[in-house]
Every structure is written in C-alpha cells, then in structure tokens.
C-alpha cells in the first residue's frame, strides 16, 4: 500500500471532506429551521465528536482495518453518503422539543440521542480520512492538504449553494458528493468492480428520486409559523431560502392576521389586510395592504412606537430593518418625506420590491423611499447623511425565554454611538421593545443608551431620554439634544390619549409613573432613576437579570441570564416561574454537559479500556493531558472570537462564516504542514516561537481591531473580506503548528490519547467559548486563549527517553 507505487486517494479525500463540511453548515441551517439557531453550537460540537470518536476508533482498530484498507476506506465513504441523508431523517423522528426541556425530564435524553445520531456521518468521514492518512503515511502531507482544501471549498461552496437551492436539495448534493467520492476513490485505489459503479449510479438515482417531501424538515410545532398554519384557510403564498434563513409568506383570508403589537387598549382601529412573513418559521412581521382609507392605517399611530412622530415631525427617517415594511408605512403616514430602509436579506427585500409590490401599493417605490440591501452599521459607516429619526427594530428575535444566545451588533453601545452620530440636531433614536415582567429588555436598552451617551461625552444622559410603556411594549427615545418642555407636553398628551404610562422624562416625578398599566410598583421609573444616577453600577450588579450594557465585545442584548438567579428561578419553576428561566443560555449549558459526557464515553473511555498507559510516567501523562486539552480549547476559542469579530468587519454573517472557516482551514493546514518539515530535534523551540507569534498577533488584534473596524466599515465587501482574510491567515498559520509539533514527540500509547484528549477539548470548546463570551465578552475569551497559548510551551511533552514501541505512533505521527 505504501510502497511508493500507489498514490493516496486525494480526489476522494477532498470530495468527502468538502461534503462533510458542507453537511456541518447545512445542519446548522436545518436545525435553525426546525428548532432554534442555538443548535449551531451543537452541530459544531457533534461534528467534532464524530472526528474525535473516530480518532479513538482508529487507534483501536487500525491494524485490522489497514489490512483491508480499500474496503474500509470505501465503506466509510459510502457510510457517510448514506448516513448524511439518513441521520437527519432519523433525527426528525426523535420526539425532541427544545421548548419542553424546561420541564420534561425525557427531553435531555432525546437531545443526547439527537447529538449522537447526527455525529455518525462525521464519524465515517473522519475514519476515511484517518485511514488514508495512515495508509499513505509517506505522503500524508498531500492527503492532509487535500482534506483541508476540500473542506475549505465545501465551506464556500455550500454557502453559495444555499443561495441557489433548497437545503433539502443541497442535502442530496452532499450525499451525492459522498457517493461520487466512493466511485472516485475506487478508481484512485484501482479497485476493479463491476458492481461498484452500478451501486453508485443506483445510489445517485435513488437520491434524485427521493421526493422532496421525504427530506423536508418542517419548523417545530411550537414555532410561530406552525401555529399560524393551524388556522383554517391559512396558506403559504411563497417560500424562499438563502443562507440567512427560509422566508415564508402566508395569507389568512378567513381569520385576518391583524398584526399591531403594542396597540393601545383605547384604539378602536383594526389593521387592514396583511400577509405574514416568517424567517425560519418565527419572528413574524407583517406586510400591510395599501389602503385609501386613512382610518384603516390609524393603528400605526396607536402604538408606543408612534411616539417620536408625536414629539416631532421627522422628515428624514432611517428604518434599519425594513422587514415587511411596517415602519416605512408608519413613517409615510406620519408625514416623513425621505425614508431610507435597510434590509440585509435580499429574499425579504424582494417581497416588497417585486412579489407583493402591488399588494403594498408599491411601498418601497414611493417617492422619497429608498430600500437598500445593507446592514445598519455598514450602511451608516459609509454615509454622512443625518436623520431626524432612526427607528430601530426590537432586539432578540425569538421570544418565550429562548432568545438571547445570538450575537446582535445592532443593539450595542458602539452601534448606538454610530446612530447618535447620524442624528440631525434635535433628532431621535427610537427603540421599541416588548415589556417583560420583571423588566429586562427595556432596562438593558436604557443601560446601553446611557453608556453610549456618556461615551460621547454627554454629562447628563437623563436630560436626553424619554421612555413610555403600554402593557405590551415600551419605547425609548434618545434625543440629539435636550428634551424640551414642549416635547414633554406632547408626550403627556400622547400617553393620556392612549393610556400609556410615562416611564421617564427629564424632571418626572415618581407619582406620575405606573398609572394606566400598573405593575406591583413603579419598577421602571425606579430602575431608570438608578440607571441614570450615581448608583448605576451597584444597581446593575445587584439586579437579578443581566442588564449590563451590550457591547461589541459582549453583543448579547437579548440575554439576561445570571447564575445567581438560577436557583431562585428553578425553585419557582413549578410555581409560575418557568418564564424566569433563560432557556437559550440553559440550552447551551445542557449541550455542554451532553458534549462532555459524549466525549468522555465515546473518546476517552474506549482509550482507557483498549490503550492502557502502563509504563508511562505520571508526570508525562499529565503534560500530555494539559497540552492537548489546552491547544484544543484555545484553537477554537480564537476561531469563534474571530468569526464574530469579522462578522462586524464584513457586515454579513454568511460571508464571515465562509471566510473564517476557509481561512482557518487553509492557513492552519499550511502551518501544520510546515511544522512537520521543521527540525524534529528543535520542536520545543519551534513551538515556543509559534506560541510567541500567536501571542504577538493575537494581542495586536485584540488591541488594534477596534481601531481598524470603523475605518474599514465603509469599504466594499470584497475589500473588507480580503482584509479580514489577510489578518486572519498569519495567526491561523501559527495556530496550526502546536498540534503536530507535540504529536511527533509522542510514542505509541500516548498518540491516540493525544488525539482523543484534543478531540474532547474541541468538542466542548465552541460551547465554552460562547458561554464565556456571554458572561465576559469576546475580548476576554481571546485573552484567555492567548493566555493558554502563553502557557502551552511550559507543558510541552517533549521527547520521551523510552524507545518507540511498534509503529502505530509513527503511523499516526505521519498522519499529521
């Protein structure tokens, strides 16, 4: 096999590697649709679990498998092709419902089973690649390069395909690529079989023949879309898919939608015909029909978000999230002359400009209205235009206690400063949110606004704030200038007329609060008094929910979880307190626990049973454990941090994901290959140099990236992407070195352990990084990772004085 005449199956390795990475990204999409986007972390973990478990499996079985390398290799490629399509279907039949996790004791078990089922295709891929690396150890570098190039292409390719095909059909493409890899692998390895091409052809035909309905993953039963479709007569008008989500438009002629969140109880207005727009089956927005009857649109002036139009007569309005166009319509009906509306998702924008153009009376094309395909921060960074009103959409996405763990760069201190900088004198920034009891969103909005105003040098932020609330929504206004007595007068009139409560205006007294929509006390007024006073820090620290200002480093505006509240919330769980539990964060914790258990059982336990460490000194065991745990954690910490920081740089989550994955795969792979060519006698020194380079580059980015971001924000996307890749590549290159440098120092029993320990650390690291980021921020996560890299040379295992027994160690060493 390795006599030099045969060549490693590079093409099939690249094919299956690209398919596996595509599957990983695809599964995050599909699970965001069926459940929640929180499952992205689970998918990363389970893919890594498949790879880690494969390392252990090969360490135990490779002698037998290598004897039948061709069969074993092709079987694993075929296994991937079958399982990558079968496992999501099987997972669909598991009765897992994330919403029921809070109270149903069976759900964690189903979640664990889901985790294991979905890791199977990745286990097969890792087996195939691991076998190829080991069997052709003399040319392992080329195989490894094929693996990385394939994975990089898979990352970019699947994101492109997501714009063109349905995720279910991409699943066919991914499985088909796996089958193609079987055929290509057979050709590469010189397997002469009449049946194999036939089998592959039959498999491809079967894939093509599977009806889409059989593959289709529907939103879970508790998602807003599923609920809406239960209503008689409701039907889907249009459905489209992109990497940003599946957009569904429904109409409900028998029971009209009547979407008017925050409408005053005093309002008698009923909204006109509307269509519902859902992204990934939730977060409904409405497209409102054109109406010649102004009375039908009166509901737009009966909500708390109409407040800025009553205080002033904004002429130039920015709507950062156009969605179904309701804020555009509100602006026009309230007299705005110029409206800039932004929408990142082209599929959503098309609804207004093409699909339902007539339904809306050509809302997006009306004089003065400009609809831009852009994200708010990128758009504003590229313009000097100033607005009389910037009307922000509510933060957080899905509700019901399961929001929170999604990065949101629209509602941070830095973002608010950018908005404030684009307000005309006397202009308003408006933020409408749902009213939660006990108060959470509203207070975080105020804390973030106050921090932004103070960062801009405003000495008395309270003089520029106005806030009101109904029973359902609150609206916070930040003014570019001091609020005037005339505005306060109009504010009072507005609240009296619509029975909204005053929360804050400069000079307000406590007795004016909590009149129409009574909470047990004037909680909002009291909280704002504290947030605007000298005791702000103590108040935030003592509050039972996390209402610290959201920042770019900790962009979790919708997360309110605090560990100190958990025991009280758990105790109150069966006494009406279930809503106090921040499910998004807890789901992440549950995933971490499952990942730790799965890693221990599937990776470390078999090693303990089959690869004993007899004769290896205890000190050396601990060094190996510490070293490979450390680099496993630190590598993904850095990768996750840059994924988020570069999202901010390129202003597009999909481009950022493709960029970070492709750059890390290629550059770290190159670093890894280069490390293999360095002098084996100087591994310790090489490692120290690599760690120093990581520290230097990482520290420079940690300290200097913020300075770069505002400047680059105005550049075109390709330029920003190129800068991001150029920044990332050197760091990733050096980060690819520590693993192979240490692995080649190890002898046989320790090599599989090193793989296993590193695999376990990788499985949990993405989740730990996010949990740390929520609490401490991404900067802290980066510094922790750099701290780990600084300590790594101290636990470098070095070469053992014991002779290497057998060749398994060398085989696996060669593999990296």
């Amino acid at each position: 096999m390795t006599d030099g005449r045969e060549r490693p199956p590079l093409w099939s390795v690249a094919l299956v590697s690209s398919a596996a990475l595509a599957a990983e990204i695809l599964l995050t999409r599909l699970f965001a649709l069926v459940h929640w986007y929180h499952f992205a972390y689970m998918i990363i973990s389970l893919a890594l679990l498949g790879y880690g478990a494969s390392g252990t499996f090969l360490a135990i079985t490779q002698r037998r498998l290598l004897v039948r390398f061709r069969v074993a290799y092709l079987a694993n490629l075929g296994g991937f092709a079958v399982l990558v399509i079968a496992c999501p279907i099987l997972a669909r039949s598991l009765p897992f419902q994330a919403e029921q996790l809070l109270w149903d004791p069976w759900q964690p078990l189903w979640l664990a089973l889901l985790f294991l089922v979905l890791s199977l295709p990745f286990f097969c891929t890792a087996n195939a690649i691991g076998l190829a690396l080991t069997a052709f150890r003399d040319r392992a570098g080329r195989t490894y390069a094929a693996d990385l190039v394939g994975a990089g292409l898979g990352a970019v390719g699947v994101l492109g395909l997501l714009y063109a095909l349905w995720p279910e059909d991409i699943l066919r493409v991914v499985a088909g690529t796996g089958l193609l890899a079987v055929w290509v692998g057979a050709v590469e390895l010189g397997v002469r079989s009449r049946f194999l091409p036939l089998l592959v052809a039959l498999g491809l035909a079967a894939l093509a023949g599977i009806p889409r309905e059989a593959l289709r993953l529907e939103p879970g039963p508790y998602k807003d879309l599923s609920q809406a479709l239960q209503v008689a007569g409701t039907r889907v008008l249009l459905e489209r898919s992109s990497p940003l989500g599946r957009v569904t438009v429904i109409e409900s002629p028998q029971v009209p939608l009547r979407y008017a969140p925050g409408l005053s109880l005093n309002s008698t207005s009923e909204p006109p015909a509307q269509l519902g727009v859902f992204t990934d089956g939730e977060a409904m927005r409405a497209i409102t029909a054109a109406s010649d009857d102004p009375g039908r649109l009166a509901f737009l002036s009966g909500t708390t978000s109409a407040l800025p139009y009553r205080l002033a007569r904004p002429r130039d309005v920015l709507v950062p999230e156009a969605g179904g166009g309701m804020e555009i319509l509100r602006a026009l009906t309230q007299g705005a002359a110029e409206v800039d509306a932004l929408e990142l998702d082209p599929e959503v924008a098309r609804l207004l400009t093409a699909d339902f153009r007539d339904f809306t009376g050509n809302l997006a094309g009306r004089p003065g209205v400009s609809l831009h395909l852009a994200e708010a921060r990128g758009f504003l960074a590229a313009t000097d235009r100033r607005y009389d009103l910037i009307q922000l959409a509510p933060a957080g996405g899905p509700r019901g206690g399961l929001g929170g763990i999604g990065e949101d760069y629209v509602h941070t201190v830095e973002a608010f400063r950018l908005y404030l900088g684009h307000l005309a004198p006397g202009g308003f920034l408006s933020l409408t949110q749902s009213v939660q009891v006990p108060p959470r969103d509203g207070l975080k909005g105020v804390a973030t606004a106050v921090a932004a105003l103070e960062s801009d040098g405003v000495v008395d932020p309270g003089s520029r704030l106005v806030m009101i609330r109904g029973w359902q929504t609150s609206t916070l206004l930040l003014k570019n200038g001091a609020v005037t007595p005339a505005e306060v007068e109009r504010l009072r009139e507005f609240c009296d007329e619509l029975s909204f409560d005053l929360v804050w205006y400069p000079g307000m007294t406590r007795g004016e609060a909590n009149v129409h929509n009574q909470l047990p006390g004037p909680w909002y007024y009291d909280a704002l008094s504290s947030l605007l006073g000298p005791e702000r820090g103590a108040f935030i620290a003592a509050y039972d929910f996390d209402i610290r200002p959201a920042t770019d480093a900790r962009p979790y505006f919708a997360n309110f979880f605090r560990w100190k509240t958990l025991s009280a919330a758990l105790a109150a769980r069966e006494r009406g307190g279930m809503a106090l539990l921040e499910g998004g964060y807890l789901l992440l914790v549950a995933t971490l626990l499952i990942a730790v258990a799965a890693g221990a059982v599937l990776i470390l336990l078999p090693l303990g049973l089959f690869v004993p460490l007899r004769g290896v000194p205890r000190g050396r065991r601990w060094r190996v454990f510490a070293y490979f745990t450390a680099i496993g954690l630190a590598f993904l910490f850095v990768e996750i941090v840059f994924l988020h920081r570069l999202t901010l740089l390129v202003h597009h989550p999909t481009v950022a994901l493709a960029l970070v994955l492709a750059t890390f795969l290629l550059a770290a792979g190159a670093g890894s290959a280069w490390a293999g060519r360095t002098d084996p006698g100087r591994s310790g020194r090489t490692l120290a140099a690599a760690a120093a380079a990581i520290l230097l580059l990482g520290s420079a980015y940690a300290l200097g990236l913020d300075a770069l971001l505002p400047g680059a924000a105005a550049w075109p996307v390709p330029a920003r992407a190129a800068v991001a890749a150029a920044l990332l590549a050197p760091l990733a290159f050096f980060m690819g070195m520590p693993f192979p440098l240490a692995l080649r120092e190890l002898d046989e029993p320790l090599v599989p352990w090193a793989w296993g320990i590193n695999g376990c650390a990788s499985v949990v690291s993405a989740i730990i990084a996010t949990l740390l980021a929520v609490d401490l921020g991404f900067d802290a996560v980066l510094w922790i990772a750099l701290g780990i890299y600084a300590l790594v040379p101290a636990v470098f295992p070095g070469r053992s004085e014991r002779p290497v027994r057998g060749d398994a160690g060398r085989r696996i060493n060669a593999a990296c």
């Binding site: 008698t268 029973w471 029975s499 929509n517 004037p522 504290s530 509050y543």
Partner: protein, 249 residues
C-alpha cells in the same frame, strides 16, 4: 476486546433501561387524591406569592372548581400519569394545557360571581372553560383550530358541562349575540387586545390575558373596565420573584 464483550452490553442495557423507564401514563389512577395534593401545592404557592398577586389565598369557590374538574380528562392519554403535576402539557396541534397554578390564579383574578357570563378566547383542551363552568352560569368559548375545538366540544359534553358552548372560529370579534360578558379570558392572545372584546366587556367586568411563551406564563394582564367605561390594566407576576428596583419601595 474481552472486556468490551462484557462492558458494551451493560452500557447498552443501562441506556435502554433509562430510555424505557416507567412509562408515562402508567402511574396510579387515584386521580382524586392526586388532585387534592395538587390543590394543596397550589394553596402553598399562592401563600408564597401573596405579595405579588395581591391575595393570600384563592377564592374557595375557585379551589372547589379546580377540585371538581378532572384534568386527566383534558390531556392526551399518554400524559394522564402527569395530569396532576403542576406543569403545562402538550395537547397536540402545537398547543398546551396550562399549568394548573396559572389556571387557578387566572380564574381567581377574573373573580367570576355566581350567575356570571364568561367568554373565553382560545378553548384549547377545554380545561379552563370547564373550571369557569363550575363558577359561571354560561360560558362561551371560541377556538380557532378546528380539530381542537371539536375535541373540546365533545369532551365538555361528555363530562356534562352543559353550560359551555364551543364555537370554532375567529375570536377577534368576540361573541356579539351573548355580550356583554362579566368575565373574558383571552388565552390565545394575538399581537394586541382586539377592540371588539373590550367593547363586549361589561362595565365593572374583568378580562385576563396570560402573556408569555407556549409553555410559560411571563405575566398575567388583568384588564378592568370601570363603570365609567375607562380601561386600566394591572400586570401581575404569577411568582414570588421581584428584581431589585433601586431601593425606592
């Protein structure tokens, strides 16, 4: 390999046992004592939350109604073993039967007087309507999801709740021919309170809305229509939990 031969079956066996476990729905069918225990739990919880829901105990009539209604008849057969746990349960079609504690507090907040006429928007399983039926003269309930409405209608009739009328349809316009109502419970709230429902609330009447997720109630909104027709709301946290509010209290 020898060790694997013994260990793997043990692991698989343990996992299978964990999966199988005691099957839901096979627990003791002594529903009456389970219901009594549930009510004791609710009484204790109400005492704990007295400060926040403005009462130390619930109206005895409400507790009697809760005792009278067989909740196990309103859940799916496979969930009957959990019918008297103080937790919500799925009832199909993406809907849930509310937590009994929340049902009790909501009913008490609505203060149904003898002889009252109640409207419920969102019949679901029919459990809340049955509790109201124990307290009111007439209960009118609207369900938008047809299969759920049919099931609830059949179930309520079977259990003898003759004073409950179920209609399948849009709840936005209430039920004009039976208006005004002394009590309106809106358990399936849309994006706002429909103005027609407020119009159909008798002056002095009360409307209660649970607000939150599918399984969780974040707040109970009590809408009161004063005799002069003016409307105020009270937002109640159904749990003994209050965040720090700056020491002004």
């Amino acid at each position: 390999m020898e060790r694997l031969r013994f260990i793997l079956p043990a692991l698989v066996g343990a996992f299978a046992c964990a999966i199988a476990g005691p099957a839901p729905g096979t627990e003791s069918p002594d529903y009456e004592s389970e219901r009594r225990a549930l009510l004791r739990e609710i009484e204790r919880d109400v005492r704990d939350t007295a400060r926040y829901i403005n009462r130390r105990s619930l109206d005895e009539r409400v507790m009697s109604a809760m005792m009278a209604v067989p909740r196990h008849e309103f859940v799916r057969p496979e969930d009957r073993g959990r019918a008297y746990q103080n937790s919500p349960l799925p009832i199909g079609h993406g809907q849930t039967i509310s937590q009994p504690y929340i049902v009790a507090v909501m009913t008490d907040l609505a203060v149904p007087a003898p002889g009252c006429r109640a409207l419920e928007v969102g019949t679901g399983s029919g459990y809340q309507a049955a509790v109201l039926a124990e307290l009111c003269e007439e209960v009118y309930t609207l369900e938008i999801i047809e299969p759920l409405g049919e099931q609830a209608r059949e179930r309520l009739a079977r259990l003898g709740y003759d004073n409950v009328t179920v209609r399948i349809g849009d709840g936005y316009y209430g039920w004009e021919e039976h208006a005004p109502f002394d009590v309106i419970l809106v358990t399936a709230v849309a994006s706002h309170v429909p103005p027609p429902l407020l119009r159909q609330l008798r002056p002095g009447g009360r409307m209660v809305l649970p607000v939150g997720g599918r399984f969780t109630t974040q707040q109970l909104v009590l809408v009161e229509k004063r005799p002069d027709g003016k409307v105020t709301t009270r937002q109640l946290l159904p749990v003994a939990f209050v965040p720090l509010t700056g020491g002004h209290d």
